[in-house]
Symmetry: C2
Subunit: 320 residues, 2 copies
Amino acid sequence: MKIEGKDCRALWLENSIVKFIDQRKLPYKLEIFSAKTVDDVAFAIKDMVVRGAPAIGAAAVYGMALGKKDLQKTAEKLRATRPTAYDLFYAIEYMIEQITNGKDEFDAATKYVEDIVQRCKKIGEYGEKLIKNGMKILTHCNAGALATVDYGTALAPFRVAYRKGKDFFVYVDETRPRCQGLLTAWELHQEGIKHAVIADNAAGYFMKNGEIDLVITGADRIAKNGDFANKIGTYEKAVLAKENDIPFYVAAPVSTFDNSIEDGSKIIIEERGRSELAEINGKKVMPDWTTVKNPAFDVTPKAYVAGYITEEGIIKNKYV
Amino acid sequence: MKIEGKDCRALWLENSIVKFIDQRKLPYKLEIFSAKTVDDVAFAIKDMVVRGAPAIGAAAVYGMALGKKDLQKTAEKLRATRPTAYDLFYAIEYMIEQITNGKDEFDAATKYVEDIVQRCKKIGEYGEKLIKNGMKILTHCNAGALATVDYGTALAPFRVAYRKGKDFFVYVDETRPRCQGLLTAWELHQEGIKHAVIADNAAGYFMKNGEIDLVITGADRIAKNGDFANKIGTYEKAVLAKENDIPFYVAAPVSTFDNSIEDGSKIIIEERGRSELAEINGKKVMPDWTTVKNPAFDVTPKAYVAGYITEEGIIKNKYV
């Protein structure tokens, strides 16, 4: 991704130090967090200096490389950071295997990270074909380079299309409660891609007025039948897209397909705390007596999906 | 409406002083703004101490009563406060006519205000019939007593049902950008009605999970064919309600029907400023470089409406 005009990543290795774009400070300030030890890396994951499953996996492989001397203890520390992150555990196991088999720890880590980046780039190359000059495209939440080391998933097609010289405009849902749309806006702003943030309430208005031609979002988990879980509000946008005959695409690596889940009804949705809705960046935006309900994700049935943009190509949804 | 357990209104007359619930302070603090002069009343309207077309009309009739001695000058001052408010002009003309015809100014003002309150009460009585024990009901924005002197429009059925002893639960959309859902939450909290505020993104989730049985919103303007304009996001909720077979009702006095407008396509939507989205209560929630688009209202086609709850009864929409 471009940051202040230069090529950059969400995290990278530099002289045996793991450098992170500090996502706790975004979109307000660009700061680099330097992790010199395994403890620093564990802190970065736990405190959300880095977020997004693929980027957390990348942090873990670098952490394992730094802590090679006591592999089991390193693994233990890293596993304890975000106990529900699948990529984290996968990355740790991968490094244990590589190092145990005598592979160089930094080579192994680099290979893991480059693999993530290449998959995202491929998603961008396939997805780019959907973007025509003059299009207006909606995205929800942040499925960007910040979450995936580089390119992003939903944002990868935008990057590739822009770098090929295509002219298009992105509508960015604010994505309450956590306002991750602002991270997307920050990435697009850095890249130079034309965009505007809108209230989540306004997406339907723009769709109905013919001002949105395409929707691309990410996915947290895709069931065997194509139903998928993603940030709360994704289902709303998918229903509105269908009602207005706008194609809705999901961009995700094939590893997001979880064949152990038959359909979306089996996906359990996390209800999160009150403060996510009642505060923005630590500032109160609701009075103390306010009662809230805060589901963090929703499930969108496959019937609303035009296709899945993966690193192996676009899987058209025959049900649409 | 109930406030701190007592019967109250958004504004009232007390010893020739117009008292307002200061809506600039809500939902954080309950403060009374006292207007002793026409200038005070004009300030209250202009500075949004009072908001909502019917409540502004009520403020205007009280203002005219206070400034009876120089009717034309009073009318001029009040007309200049909110130049697009239809109820404001209507209320001023009404008072000029009444006073010119020798009617007592306070009697005339009281009659006007009681008429508004009675219409809202009637809306509540008709709408209450739609509410069954155990129902979960969604509302959007604030079509409450604060905007209409007492009862509200969309909130009137909740008040009447609650006072009859019905047991139900209200989901309140936050209603970004201006978060008027918090005013609704404040009214329900004061009344004792069970409710929770949700992110605008979450309404679809609850609908799909069978947790919403009914939707009631207000309307700013209803075209001859039944299409209606209301706060941004109303269209989204209406589409989602239809998709999930949930009846969607609009509560509004018959004066909201504007027969001079054939259909919704003739309603012009105001795009409002950046700060509404980028700030909440004067606190920045987006960085300075953020570009936004901020339509304030949307139009919902009649096909999504189950019926219109008015003071003359419920008009079922034959198109649904």
